[in-house]
Symmetry: C2
C-alpha cells in the first residue's frame, strides 16, 4: 500500500494502473476511519482491481462555527484500517496541496441542497461538491463509493455527476451501525459516556417510525410527532431537524405516497449527529 500526499504522485500511479488496464475504485473520506468506511472499501475492492482511499478534512465544507479544528484525526490508525482492507493507495493531501492561494472555482448543486443539512449548513454542499469534483479529477476512478448515512450528500453527488456528465459510477452503500443501533460516525468519538448512551435516541426514533409505517401509518405529521417525543424525552438531545422528503427531489412530503427519505440531525450535547432511513413505496 502506497501513501502519498501530492496530486502528481496520484496521477502518476493512476496513469501506470490505467496503462495496464486496471479498473479503479475511489473511497473519499475525511479519515478517522470506522467500519462504515471499511464497508465502502470492501465494496470498492470487490468491484475494482485497484482501490484508492482519500483522507482529507476539507476546510471548505465546514462552516465558520463548525468543528473543523476539532475534527478527529489519526493517520496511523487510518493507514492500518486501509491496509487491513487491501487498499492500494491512500491520498492524504494538505489543505494547501488542494487549494492554492488563488483558488476561486466552485461546483454547486441547487435545489437538492435547499433542504435538510443544506438548509442548516449553508455552503456545506458547495464545499462537498467542489472537493469531490477535484478528487474525481485527480483520481479518475471508474467507480466511487459513498455511504447512505450521508443520504443528502449521496443524492447531491449523484445529481452533480449526472448533470456534469462525469464518467464515474456512483455507488451508495448501506449504513453501518453499532450493536445498539447508533450509526457509525467519526463524530461519535466526541461523545462522553453519558452522551453515547443518549445518542441511541436517533435510532430509537427511526425504529419507532418504521414500526408505525409497517402498521399502516401514512401521515408524516403523526410519525414525526412520535419521533420527536422519543428524542425530546432525552435531556442531552436537541433536534436540529427531522423531516420526510421525496427521495428524488428532497422536497417535504405530507403523506407517504412515494419513495421518501426520513432524515434527522440531532445535537447530543455539542455533537451533531445525523441518521436516516428510506421508505420504499
Amino acid at each position: 500500500m502506497k501513501v502519498v500526499t501530492t496530486i502528481d504522485e496520484v496521477r502518476q500511479q493512476v496513469k501506470s494502473w490505467r496503462k495496464n488496464g486496471a479498473t479503479i475504485g475511489l473511497v473519499p473520506t475525511m479519515g478517522y476511519l470506522h467500519e462504515g468506511h471499511q464497508s465502502l472499501m470492501a465494496a470498492a475492492k470487490q468491484d475494482n482491481q485497484k482501490v484508492i482511499v482519500t483522507i482529507f478534512v476539507n476546510p471548505m465544507q465546514f462552516g465558520p462555527k463548525e468543528d473543523l479544528a476539532s475534527y478527529p484525526r489519526d493517520l496511523e490508525r487510518d493507514k492500518n484500517a486501509c491496509q487491513q482492507m487491501g487498499v492500494d493507495l491512500i491520498f492524504c493531501p494538505s489543505a494547501s496541496e488542494m487549494y492554492d492561494a488563488n483558488f476561486n472555482s466552485y461546483v454547486n448543486v441547487n435545489g437538492l441542497t435547499d433542504a435538510l443539512c443544506g438548509k442548516k449548513r449553508p455552503g456545506h454542499f458547495k464545499g462537498v461538491c467542489t472537493v469531490v469534483t477535484k478528487l474525481f479529477n485527480i483520481t479518475q476512478p471508474d467507480r466511487a463509493y459513498f455511504g447512505q448515512k450521508d443520504a443528502q450528500q449521496l443524492a447531491v453527488i449523484q445529481r452533480m455527476v449526472s448533470d456534469l456528465n462525469i464518467d464515474i459510477e456512483i455507488i451508495g452503500c448501506p449504513i453501518v451501525r453499532e450493536s445498539d443501533g447508533l450509526a457509525k460516525s467519526s463524530r461519535n468519538s466526541y461523545l462522553s459516556q453519558h452522551e453515547r448512551l443518549a445518542a441511541i435516541c436517533l435510532y430509537q426514533s427511526i425504529e419507532c417510525a418504521q414500526q408505525m409505517i409497517q402498521t399502516g401509518e401514512k401521515s408524516v405529521q403523526t410519525i414525526l410527532t412520535a419521533m420527536k417525543n422519543i428524542i425530546n424525552a432525552q435531556p442531552l438531545a436537541k433536534i436540529d431537524y427531522i423531516e420526510f422528503v421525496d427521495y428524488a427531489t428532497l422536497t417535504a412530503v405530507d403523506r407517504l405516497n412515494q419513495d421518501s427519505l426520513c432524515a434527522l440531525a440531532v445535537y447530543i450535547g455539542k455533537t451533531r449527529l445525523i441518521d436516516n432511513f428510506i421508505y420504499h413505496h
Copy 2:
C-alpha cells in the same frame, strides 16, 4: 468525419480512439464557424491524432435580454468548414441532450469573473464554465483550444482547470482578424454594411493604444482617453467598457508596470463586439 448529436455516441467514439492510444484535441464552439475557429482546429490537428469540434449555442451563457434566439446558425456550412480542416468528429447536441429537466448543477469561478464581460453579463461565465466542464467530461480530450479573442473566458477556464484539477491542457490561440483589422466573430454577421465599416473603430483604438505604449506612455488614463476618443467619434459606436487589467488577476491597473490585458466591448448599433490585446511588460 462523423457528425453526432448524442453524448453516448461521443463517449463510444472517444473510448474506441482511446483504446488505440490516440490523443484527442477539443475545439468547443457555438458554431457559425469562421477563420478564427479554423485556426483553433489547425492547432488541434497539429498537436493531436484526433480532433473533436463541438457546436452548441449554450442557452445558459446568454442573459435574458441577449441574442440567444438570433445567434447565427448554419450547420451545413459548419460541417464543410470542419471537413476542410480534417476534423474527425462534430458533436452538435440539442439543448435537451445537454440539460435535462432536473438539471441543477453549476460550475463557477469567482474573482476573475467580477471584471470586464463578467460585470456586464451576469451569469455568463457560470454558463460558460458549466458547459465547458460538461464538454470536457463528455469528450475527455488531452488538449482544448480557445481563442485569445475571448481573453477573459480563456483566463477563467485556465483558472477553473487548475482549481478543479481537470487533467486537460488548455491552449490559447491568437486573434484572427479581417484585412482591415476587425476581429473575426460570428456576431460580425449581424452588422449592416454601414455598421461593418464603423466596427473598425475597435481595432483602430487598439492600434492607437499600442502606438502610444511603444512611444513610452505608461498612464492608463491617458491611453484610455485616446481610445475612447476614437470610438466616440464613430456615431454608430457605443462603448460598453474599455479597461486595462492585470493579466493574472483581471483587476484594474493605473499604470503599465505589469503584464496587462486591454479589453474592450463596444456596441455597433445593436451588435456587441469585443476585442483586446495583451501588453507584455
